[in-house]
Structures are given as structure tokens and as C-alpha cells.
């Protein structure tokens, strides 16, 4: 017992050190965001200054609350649709035995090969043709679609390994229809997969600027990460990094808060997990 106690302390110290190093880049950015906007001298001098100018400017230039509202709207609807579509499709793919099942699995999976950079102009034309350009629907469609291949893949695997088919069969013998089984048995049993999807797909959607950049041109519809682009300089207008850092911090703040709040729920979901038999 004593030995394990000691090793626990050693591991904890080791991990603490590791995480300090691991997070040091973010600490640098955090400390730089409190500097005067023009001060870009040695960033390693952490927290020697305290000035909120960068935050004040960043807040205004981001048009914070409006952009936050757009981000929340777009991210939540994308994630909701993604969970719905991918769980439905993933479940179907997992349970469609035979050639059809494997065809769809491969068909969706092959979408992971595609990257947005490959076909920007065609994507733009299609969205435009559907009359969706410069609407918040456009990026939502793209986020859902871009995340589908991986989500379906993950979900299918999860259903196959985590949802006992015998349970479904038993329900069917009792007269349950497929939609009922999906909603009442499969969904509850796959909560860990769903929460994993919220994390792995929702966060990139929240942080993405690429599709938002392609499809949202009105400033009133822009999301936080898209507004972040405004801080990037070019040949003639240099980037103002302290202001950019401050903008990064305030734009990451909502998700940090959500994360710290939902973390407990996820951990519980993972440990208690419906997956265990």
C-alpha cells in the first residue's frame, strides 16, 4: 500500500510538471494579452504588465456579443443536426447487415478523404445555387456534412461493439418498432459516443472560420472565429498580436466555461457508461 501511495505522489508531481510545460504556450498568450497593445518585446516575461487595452479593443472589434450569438446559434444547430443525422445513419449502417451495410459504411467513410480546400469553388457554387449564400444555414450545412463521415464511422463502431443486438431483438419480439428502439435503447446506450462527438466535432465547428469565411459576408452574421480573421495582417497592415491574443482569450472563454461545466457530465458518462455490460 505504501509503495502505491508513493508512486501516486510521484505520478502526480510528474503530471503537474508535464502539464505546466504542456500548457506553457497558452500561458504565454494569456500573459501577452495583458500587455500594452504595442509591446511585443520578450513574451517570456510572464505577467509583468497588467493592462486591459488589448481586451477593450478586441472586445469592440470582435463585436463580441453579436458574434457570440451567431457562434452559439450556428454551433448548436450544427451539432444538433450532426448528432441526429449521424446517429440515425450510423445505427442504420451498423444494423444493415450484408453488402448494403458495408457499402454505405465505405461510402460515408470515403468522405473523410475529402478536405474543404479541394473543392472550394464548387461548394460555393452549390450553396449559391440553393440560394443559401450569406445565410447562417450555409455554414451549418457544411459543418454537418464535413463532420458526417467521421461521426458515422465512430457511431457505427460504437453501436456494433456497445449495443447488444440481443437487447434489440428482445425489444422487437415485444413488438417495438425500429424508431422506438433507436430512441429508447440505442440512443441511451450510445451516450458516450454522442458526447464524444459533441467534443470532437463540436469544438472544431466552434473554432472553424473556413466555411464561415466562404459563406458569411455580412458583418452581422459573422461568428467569433471569423471575426478573428480581422486581426491578421498582410504586407501593408501588420498583425497586432497582443490584441489578437486578447481576442483569442475572449473568443475561447465561452467554450472554456461550457467545457468546465460539461466535463463532469462527460466523465460520469464515460465511467458509468452505458457501454459496459
Amino acid at each position: 500500500m505504501k509503495k502505491s501511495k508513493r508512486s501516486e505522489v510521484a505520478v502526480t508531481i510528474g503530471l503537474t510538471l508535464f502539464f505546466l510545460i504542456f500548457l506553457s504556450p497558452i500561458l504565454i498568450a494569456f500573459s501577452a494579452s495583458f500587455r500594452h497593445v504595442d509591446d511585443t518585446s520578450n513574451y517570456l516575461k510572464l505577467f509583468q504588465y497588467f493592462c486591459l487595452d488589448s481586451y477593450r479593443l478586441a472586445f469592440g472589434k470582435l463585436n463580441y456579443f453579436r458574434s457570440l450569438k451567431n457562434s452559439i446559434l450556428i454551433t448548436t444547430s450544427s451539432v444538433f443536426l450532426l448528432l441526429l443525422f449521424s446517429s440515425m445513419a450510423g445505427y442504420a449502417v451498423a444494423r444493415l447487415k450484408g453488402k448494403l451495410g458495408s457499402f454505405f459504411q465505405i461510402f460515408f467513410l470515403s468522405g473523410m478523404i475529402v478536405s474543404a480546400q479541394m473543392s472550394i469553388i464548387p461548394m460555393y457554387r452549390i450553396i449559391n445555387g440553393l440560394g443559401l449564400s450569406n445565410t447562417r444555414v450555409a455554414p451549418v450545412c457544411m459543418y454537418v456534412t464535413a463532420a458526417l463521415p467521421f461521426s458515422i464511422f465512430l457511431y457505427t463502431n460504437f453501436v456494433k461493439s456497445g449495443v447488444p443486438y440481443t437487447l434489440e431483438e428482445a425489444a422487437r419480439i415485444d413488438g417495438a418498432k425500429i424508431p422506438y428502439i433507436y430512441a429508447r435503447i440505442v440512443i441511451p446506450l450510445t451516450k458516450p459516443a454522442l458526447s464524444s462527438l459533441v467534443i470532437t466535432q463540436g469544438v472544431p465547428i466552434w473554432n472553424d472560420f473556413f466555411f464561415a469565411m466562404l459563406f458569411l459576408s455580412s458583418p452581422t452574421k459573422k461568428t467569433l472565429p471569423l471575426q478573428m480573421l480581422n486581426f491578421i495582417g498582410d504586407m501593408e497592415n501588420a498583425t497586432q498580436w497582443n490584441m489578437l491574443f486578447a481576442a483569442c482569450m475572449v473568443s475561447a472563454l465561452p467554450i472554456l466555461i461550457i467545457y468546465s461545466f460539461l466535463q463532469r457530465y462527460f466523465v460520469a458518462g464515460l465511467t458509468v457508461g452505458a457501454v459496459k455490460e
Binding site: 518585446s41 469592440g60 459576408s217 458583418p219 491578421i232 498582410d234 501593408e236 501588420a238
Partner: protein, 467 residues
């Protein structure tokens, strides 16, 4: 000699548009560049009456009080490249929409800003899908040809205030004798230097040719200073040095060099270009440039200069605010253009058009009318909008009677007024060539390529994109 500078660029535009017309199915009219060909400072004397007569008589200038709002509410889209300034109010993002809306309550301007590369592609993509921005800023000459040819941008030759702008600059946005852009100003590439370090190293005179420039670097180095810092991680920075050097090394002997690239008479692999790149590479080889610059960004290099860690930096007039900012060291700044010429050659310096304001040709009448109103208001000296523009721009405004408030910049242009100026060399090249230059030159810095190979790469890219 001076007069020839423009002609090469114009010829290049013409050749390019001819090439452009070679592709099948082009039903847009051939675009011919405007005739005049002068350097910037010669405007007044060359604006001859004969030319004026060819153009339709300009509309009467309307006073700002006489401008009437459009009949119904309209939202104009304006696109600009990103403007990450720390001013609480930016001209394009804040003043322009605000003051226009104040004057014309029916006009609302929505501003979209994007980083340069994304900006170029997005503007083109939007126009190609039939919904380009009502107003946007764009680059001169070859870079605007495709938009003009496709009929996306409006001919504004009859814009009444166009005459107020320096004509030689305005003509850089003219094709086939028609004006398409309102020139927003000029800028120049230059070398900022630390006067205190120069004095300390015993440099009393600014170098007049390349050999003298090398001597200056040698003196600085002998005194223990790092002569030059470059933010070479941002590859575009390489252009700042090469274009300054190239002006004096390439063009004094053949002002039509770039135009002749299109006809094959000249090539990037010619001696003059190899010489230019070699001269630039020398600075690295001899250890005048700080080590490891490939790991330093433009921003970091500027900081390094104002912190007094290097005596020189290749930058531009647009870097004014950043260069004049307070750093760790307190010293006096100066500017000069690196001479690329040999001792018996002629000194050419860099001075180039900045962007122009273009307006959409594919929007409806109401939007066009509103755009006209905005331009009438913006470019009228009496308007508060004009005042804000002059106050906030980083360009050197080329509007009759407006002088730049930055003394160092006026002093600089005055110092070189008797020399010939050249535009940024890439203005006469198709997209992609300057990128080939900077990318390959990074390999020269790492010691993995020779100046000859840089030139070969440029020539190869040039042939690839013009075929």
C-alpha cells in the same frame, strides 16, 4: 529616360490581355491599356490637352450639399483586406459606413474584410457567381485585367472627381482608355535605418551604388552591429529587398524588360536578373543579415529593428507607424532605397501605386446610383469623410492639393525626385511569379539553391502561367 518606365508596364498589360484573349470562347471585348506612359512625378507636364479631348467631357463637380440621397433604403457591400489597426476607429470599417449613413440615411454600408490571399480569391469567386461586392479595393495593372475583361467592374471614366487625382496614377487602373479605379494613393519600398548606428560606424553618406552599400554593411559589421534584419519566415518580405535592388540593376539598360518577357525577348534567367538575385544573396552570404531569419516573422523583425538589434530593415512607407513606434532602444530613424546599380550605373528607386477603389458593374441601378453618391461624397474635399480619409490612410494620397502629413515621407520623395522611379516589379508579372521568387529564395538562404536556380524557377513559373 524617365518616360520609359511606364511604357514597359503598359506594354506588359497589353501583351497579357492579348494572351488572355487567346483562350476559346472569350466574347468580351479586347482590353487595351491606356496610352499615357510617365513616371509619377511628371504628371502635370504630360497631361496634355489632346488626350483630354479624346475623353467624354467630365460631369460637373457637384457640391456635397447638392448630393441627394437615393430614393429607397439600400445596403452596399464593401470589401477590403484586413485592417488590424489598434486605432479604436478605422477608416474603412468605421468612419466610412458611419459618415455615409449620416449623410445619406438610405445608404447602409456593410464592410467585409479578409486576409489578402483569401480576399483575392473571394472577390473573384463572388463575381464569378454573379454577386460581387458593390465597392472594393484592388491592385493595379495586370492584377486587375481579369476582372475588367470579364466585365465585372464599372467604367468610371466620367466620374467628375477623377480629374482631381494624379493622372499618371489613375491611368494605372485604366484599360482600353477607360478608367476603372479611383486611385487611393501610392507607397514605396524602402530601407529603414538606424541613424545612430550609422553615425557610430562612421557612415556619413548614404550609399549611391551597390558597392557603397556593401561597404556600409561592412563598416556596421566591423563595429559589432548586425547590419540587416529580415522577417524571411514571411516569404513576401524577400520582395522588399529584391525589388529595391532590381530597380537599379535591371531597368536602366532596358526599361522594357518586363514587357519583353511576354514576347520572349527577355527572360528572368538573363544576366541582369541573376545579378540582382546574386547581389541580394550576397548580403546573406557575407553575414550582413542576421542569422536564422527564416525563423523570424515580419512582425518580429520590425520589433527587432526598433529594439535596436539591427541597423537596417527592408520595409516600406506603409510600415511607417510600426517603424516609428517606440522600442527598447531610442534612436533616430532614416530611410533610403538600396542602390542596385553599379558605380557607373544609374540610381533607380521604388515608388508604386497602392490600391484603387473599384465598383461593381453587375449590380442593379439603385446600387450603382448609391455607389456614385458614396464616391461623390468621399472624394470631395469639402466632406468630413474626405477629411477622415486623409487623416487615417497609410497611403500617400495623390489628390490635388493634399500633402502627406508625414514629414519623413515628403522629405524622402523630395530627395529622390530627380531619379527615376519604378513600381513594385511584380505589378508587371502574372500572379505566381513573385511567389516563385520568394519561395525559391528561401532555399538560397538555407544554402540549398543558387541565384541562377531562383531565376530559372521564376522563368518556369512565368511560362507556366502565361502559356
Amino acid at each position: 529616360m524617365k518616360r520609359k518606365v511606364m511604357s514597359l508596364l503598359m506594354a506588359a498589360v497589353m501583351t497579357a490581355s492579348l494572351i488572355g484573349c487567346g483562350s476559346a470562347g472569350t466574347d468580351t471585348p479586347d482590353v487595351e491599356p491606356a496610352a499615357p506612359a510617365e513616371t509619377i512625378e511628371e504628371v502635370e507636364e504630360t497631361t496634355d490637352a489632346a488626350e483630354e479631348a479624346d475623353k467624354p467631357a467630365p460631369k460637373e463637380v457637384v457640391g456635397i450639399d447638392a448630393l441627394e440621397d437615393v430614393s429607397e433604403p439600400v445596403t452596399l457591400s464593401l470589401m477590403v483586406t484586413t485592417r488590424p489597426s489598434t486605432d479604436s476607429k478605422d477608416f474603412f470599417l468605421d468612419w466610412l459606413p458611419e459618415l455615409v449613413h449620416e449623410k445619406f440615411p438610405n445608404i447602409t454600408i456593410e464592410v467585409e474584410q479578409l486576409p489578402t490571399d483569401e480576399y483575392k480569391q473571394t472577390v473573384r469567386m463572388k463575381y464569378a457567381s454573379g454577386e460581387g461586392p458593390d465597392l472594393f479595393t484592388w491592385w493595379p495593372q495586370l492584377q486587375a485585367v481579369d476582372l475588367v475583361e470579364a466585365g465585372y467592374v464599372r467604367d468610371i471614366s466620367d466620374f467628375s472627381l477623377l480629374g482631381k487625382f494624379d493622372q499618371s496614377i489613375a491611368d494605372l487602373y485604366a484599360f482600353d482608355g477607360k478608367n476603372y479605379g479611383v486611385p487611393l494613393g501610392t507607397s514605396f519600398l524602402t530601407t529603414w535605418y538606424n541613424k545612430d548606428m550609422f553615425a557610430d560606424a562612421g557612415v556619413t553618406e548614404l550609399p549611391q551604388n551597390y558597392d557603397e552599400f556593401v561597404e556600409v554593411c561592412e563598416k556596421l559589421k566591423a563595429k559589432g552591429y548586425t547590419p540587416i534584419v529580415c522577417g524571411d519566415k514571411d516569404a513576401f518580405v524577400i520582395q522588399y529587398g529584391v525589388y529595391q535592388l532590381g530597380a537599379g540593376a535591371i531597368y536602366p539598360d532596358n526599361i522594357d524588360f518586363d514587357a519583353q518577357l511576354f514576347t520572349g525577348e527577355t527572360k528572368f534567367t538573363d544576366d541582369v536578373w541573376v545579378d540582382t538575385v546574386t547581389k541580394f544573396a550576397n548580403l546573406y552570404e557575407k553575414g550582413y543579415v542576421m542569422e536564422n531569419t527564416l525563423g523570424i516573422s515580419q512582425q518580429q523583425s520590425r520589433q527587432s529593428f526598433i529594439d535596436g538589434e539591427a541597423a537596417m530593415i527592408f520595409d516600406g512607407s506603409f510600415g511607417y507607424a510600426a517603424m516609428m513606434a517606440e522600442g527598447a532602444a531610442d534612436f533616430e530613424r532614416g530611410m533610403f532605397c538600396i542602390p542596385g546599380n553599379d558605380p557607373d550605373g544609374e540610381y533607380y528607386y521604388n515608388w508604386t501605386p497602392a490600391n484603387a477603389l473599384f465598383t461593381s458593374n453587375i449590380s442593379d441601378e439603385l446600387h450603382k446610383q448609391a455607389c456614385d453618391l458614396v464616391m461623390q461624397y468621399w472624394f470631395n474635399e469639402e466632406s468630413p469623410l474626405f477629411e477622415k480619409w486623409v487623416e487615417n490612410t497609410t497611403d500617400i494620397i495623390c489628390y490635388e492639393g493634399v500633402e502627406d502629413p508625414r514629414e519623413m515621407i515628403n522629405e524622402y520623395l523630395d530627395r529622390y525626385k530627380d531619379s527615376t522611379n519604378l513600381y513594385n516589379l511584380n505589378n508587371a508579372w502574372p500572379e505566381g511569379v513573385s511567389d516563385a521568387l520568394t519561395t525559391k529564395f528561401q532555399n538560397v538562404i538555407t544554402g540549398d539553391a543558387t541565384p541562377e536556380e531562383v531565376c530559372e524557377q521564376m522563368q518556369m513559373k512565368f511560362e507556366e502561367v502565361t502559356e
